[in-house]
């Protein structure tokens, strides 16, 4: 497998504030990668760099192209849905389909229409008359009809109710994703995407703090529900974090020996959300 995205030492300043402070990572093709980080950690800036929507320093290759120089060519292969709806308010459903069909060589009109038929969208409806959920449905219909290699999602379900959110990820997995496609997604609703991710990238203060596959994550990190008598012994192994559930301390360990840990109590694989909280706890301090 070759790397679809290779980023080396990306840097970007907004005034004196560094948005990207030496970001490096690779994304292999056929993966669903979650780029997770607190607010202001550089997630959106990283995505915009990949899409050629912002200037930056450093090395970046997306599908073998430099997004700064070759945005138009790159967009033949890359699709993008952003946090808040970015479709213009005056756009009608049918015009949106006509337009994307007109300018995009890889657009499959039938697919888009089939998807829209399953929603409440009508051809003459304008974006300004739609609810937030419907706008995202329209955008998803346009994007799913494009045979692209990389789909970039920046908080795609922000502000949507739970029905739209579930449906969004279901459509994405069932109707869109296959081994030839790669999805790069940022979101704060970690619980909702955790089961679909294959890879995890944690970003903190403009730096990548963790890059691993989900398999590696479950191998490396272990949560133990420590029995009271072993608390001191467990603490000696320097857990990443400690919280209390039903009166028992739950400790998160990075790279500790599982056999040794299993003596202390029940072992669990930590959720991404717990891992996130544990590794990012210093980031607002």
């Amino acid at each position: 497998m070759s790397a679809l995205i290779t980023a080396g030492n990306l840097r970007k300043q907004y005034g004196k504030q560094a948005a990207l402070d030496g970001v490096s990572f690779t994304v292999e093709s056929g993966r669903i990668v979650g780029l997770i980080g607190p607010n202001g950690s550089g997630k959106t800036t990283t995505l915009k760099a990949i899409l050629g929507l912002t200037q930056f320093q450093g090395e970046l290759s997306v599908l073998g192209m430099d997004p700064r120089q070759q945005r138009e060519a790159l967009m033949n292969e890359v699709c993008f849905i952003a946090d808040v709806a970015i479709l213009p308010r005056w756009l009608k459903v049918k015009d949106a389909i006509d337009f994307v069909e007109g300018v995009h060589p890889r657009f499959n009109r039938a697919k888009a229409e089939k998807y829209i038929a399953n929603t409440k969208l009508t051809p003459n409806m304008k974006v300004k008359a739609m609810s937030k959920g419907m706008v995202v449905q329209l955008h998803l219909a346009l994007v799913m009809a494009i045979d692209a290699k990389l789909l970039v999602l920046d908080e795609p379900t922000l502000g949507l109710d739970i029905l739209y959110r579930k449906q969004f990820y279901q459509n994405l997995l069932e109707d869109y994703f296959d081994e030839n496609k790669t999805i790069l997604i940022t979101t704060h609703q970690i619980e909702e995407v955790e089961h679909i991710l294959t890879d995890l990238l944690f970003i903190e203060n403009g730096k990548i703090s963790l890059a691993a596959t989900m398999d590696e994550v479950s191998e490396r990190f272990t949560e133990v529900m420590v029995e009271p008598q072993f608390v001191a012994a467990a603490n000696a192994l320097q857990p990443l974090s400690q919280r209390t559930v039903f009166g028992k301390p739950v400790m998160l360990f990075d790279g500790a020996n599982r056999e040794q840990l299993s003596n202390f109590g029940e072992l669990r694989t930590p959720s991404v959300a717990d891992l996130f909280v544990a590794t990012m706890k210093g980031s607002y301090a």
């Binding site: 945005r71 790159l74 967009m75 952003a82 015009d95 006509d98 300018v103």
Partner: protein, 314 residues
């Protein structure tokens, strides 16, 4: 080419209210005014010795009148052509700013369309599509009015239809107006380029930047000239820079900038106004100032393209 077609359609979808409906609404107002004048005017009640006036026009006079009507009917559409300048001005001002303000820039840029093609589609909308729509509406109004005038004359005993329809001027006049379009484009380029450039750069208050910059510069120069006795020609700056980048989109601006000789003698006393305008307009292209302005306009459009690539949403 196909992409350009869709980009132009896109501009029409977004700006239909401005580019299509504004001229049509004004056309409606013009027609209403003229028809009200015809119907409720006092003309019906003009009487001579207790009899309604009946007019019979024959011979040379008839030909002359038909010719005059065929030449001048487009003037009924003049109010519509007058607002073309405003339409193009505000269209260009918003062309590259609105998409950054409403963040739809992110959507447009997620499609395989280059910044150059996008900016050029906005240029073509401003200097070709908008003028052609306005011109078509203006000519349609003129035709309606001249036909109404013929009906009116018919009610008073003179049938002008045949004479009018067989006058070649009737058909040549709109063609000559379209023939002036290249001249319009060249003179509009500095203004269109300036507005697109400001639109692509300003983070907010586009109008203030676009209009304030040349006016304040001019005032500063006047002040420097009067108070500090700098050897500057602020009048030259006002007429050659400020006026050219603000007023170039007004149809006929070149008559004001260049003051071409309107040769009334060579027309053998016919009323070929449109030919006069056509010749005078094209004659302004002989002066270097139009070409210098056009080159400056092209340079500013190039900057707008560069800025479209770099600027992010606001």
């Amino acid at each position: 080419m196909k992409t350009m077609k869709w980009l132009l359609k896109r501009e029409m979808w977004e700006n239909k209210g401005m580019l299509l409906w504004t001229p049509i609404v004004i056309a409606g107002a013009v027609i209403t005014l003229i028809f009200t004048g015809l119907i409720f005017g006092k003309v019906e009640h003009m009487q001579l010795y207790g009899q309604p006036i009946s007019v019979t026009i024959e011979g040379t006079a008839r030909m002359k009148i038909a010719e005059a009507m065929a030449e001048l009917y487009v003037t009924a559409g003049m109010p519509i052509l007058m607002i073309l300048g405003l339409l193009v001005f505000f269209y260009c001002l918003n062309a590259l700013h609105d998409e950054r303000r409403d963040r739809s820039l992110l959507f447009w840029k997620s499609l395989p369309v280059s910044d150059t093609t996008t900016v050029l589609s906005k240029l073509v909308t401003a200097v070709v599509v908008a003028p052609l729509i306005t011109l078509a509406v203006a000519v349609a109004v003129g035709l309606l009015v001249v036909l109404a005038a013929c009906v009116f004359l018919l009610l008073h005993g003179t049938n002008m239809f045949g004479a009018l329809l067989s006058t070649p001027q009737l058909y040549l006049t709109p063609l000559r107006l379209v023939g002036v379009l290249p001249v319009y484009i060249l003179w509009a380029l500095p203004t269109v380029g300036w507005l697109l450039m400001v639109s692509s750069m300003a983070r907010s208050k586009v109008f203030l930047w676009a209009v304030g910059t040349p006016i304040i510069s001019t005032l500063l120069l006047v002040w420097a000239q009067k108070m500090l006795h700098f050897s500057l020609d602020s009048l030259w700056f006002a007429s050659h820079i400020s006026a050219r980048i603000l007023l170039g989109v007004v149809p006929g601006s070149w008559i004001g900038f260049e003051r071409p000789v309107l040769d009334l003698t060579s027309n053998e006393r016919s009323l070929a106004v449109s030919k006069l305008i056509f010749d005078a307009s094209w004659s302004t292209l002989g002066s270097p100032s139009v070409w210098i302005g056009a080159a400056a306009g092209v340079a500013m459009i190039a900057i707008a393209i560069y800025m479209r690539r770099r600027r992010e949403e606001v």
